[in-house]
Symmetry: D2
Subunit: 136 residues, 4 copies
Amino acid sequence: MDNMTMQMMEMHSKDMAITGMDMGMMQECIEACAAGEQAATMCADSMMDDSMMMCRSMCANAADVMNTMMRMMMRPAGMQGETMMGMLSATMMMATACADECMRHAEMSEECRMCAEVCRQCAMSCQKMMDSMSMA
Amino acid sequence: MDNMTMQMMEMHSKDMAITGMDMGMMQECIEACAAGEQAATMCADSMMDDSMMMCRSMCANAADVMNTMMRMMMRPAGMQGETMMGMLSATMMMATACADECMRHAEMSEECRMCAEVCRQCAMSCQKMMDSMSMA
Amino acid sequence: MDNMTMQMMEMHSKDMAITGMDMGMMQECIEACAAGEQAATMCADSMMDDSMMMCRSMCANAADVMNTMMRMMMRPAGMQGETMMGMLSATMMMATACADECMRHAEMSEECRMCAEVCRQCAMSCQKMMDSMSMA
Amino acid sequence: MDNMTMQMMEMHSKDMAITGMDMGMMQECIEACAAGEQAATMCADSMMDDSMMMCRSMCANAADVMNTMMRMMMRPAGMQGETMMGMLSATMMMATACADECMRHAEMSEECRMCAEVCRQCAMSCQKMMDSMSMA
């Protein structure tokens, strides 16, 4: 996330409908989702044969889920604990499943290996946010 | 969902990576998500003043979540029990929260009343799919 | 588009920032874009081998473009002649290119044949809207 | 765009269906679209009153258009000159219109001022790509 986006996020957080969100952690998670959407979109586009049909389909799903998660974090005005937790959990599952499937092709495809790594990062970032929210 | 989409869905379901999905129920849920995305997109665009800031933000979130859910159901090749359940649950929560918030403005805004109804329908449809999947 | 969405669209059109839009034509175009997004999403998911790599990638693009076009028509508050024309033209090109590519596989894949038909419909609907807007 | 995404993009560009694309320029444009989607999503969420209704609606449109443009650049397998030009042109118009509208509120809202700047950057980046493509 570039610098200006970060500044806007801090500014806009004053409208946040819930309290106790760790802004630094959220910015990290926004970045992880954005990187994940990009990696999974490219990875889905690069799959070549039959054996990768499931992987490609999961990457397409992961890209959409991570984009939606990112957007939800960028809309503080309607942010709610329960819906955030639900979507963080869904994103964490989707990113993990996508990473696992991509790893099965990591030796054939460098793109899959890299996508797996980025998705794994995103899953961890979502998990960290969930942990901090349930503590708050 | 028009007729041709339904035919494509039936045809494509042969590639489905999991078994035990009720196709009729899934088509209904696809339709409910599509209608929900449209209603929430329009509703978010129609909010006028301060008091509706949270409602608008939640409608924007709901539209993105329901679109992502719809797309996941249209990609049978990578369909997985766990990720489907996670996303159905997130959609159900988001649609319910959006419907609840919209209902608070139902007397001021006919658009909110209608959006609430469409979101409620979508939440029920997701719940029905989750129930049938956990039985399978 | 189901009935309620149509009613909301009529209601919300009072906020429309430009004049001279044919509401019936726009509802038809919204429906065509929604059907196109669904068909192209499924079609992209069903491609199996190497020879369909380009087709799958174009279907994924077409699905995103048609969804964005649909959403723009559902946001009357910010509707503008120039940006509408630009996006209608981009959607028309994308849907036509996708239909052309899908038709090349129509004999191998019934899904491609159907997707081509739905995309062609969408392209025509965008063209009709552009014609009526340039007359207004 | 983080480093890994850039590496994936370079790797995946071997599948590119057209020639003559300037990869450095494209990476810059991908980054500009990603930053634009984020800024416009936050800006749309922060608008408070009536007088900003049009601005908010245009920001929501701009976010969707810029996301779709970004994804098209990340799918080299189906990349085509005509559809790329059409969508670059639509994005350029949408980002410019959004920046113009945001600038009208720049004194009231720092978020609008920043969003305008990011959108202007995106429009310029699309224009540069169009120029280089029409030279090729």
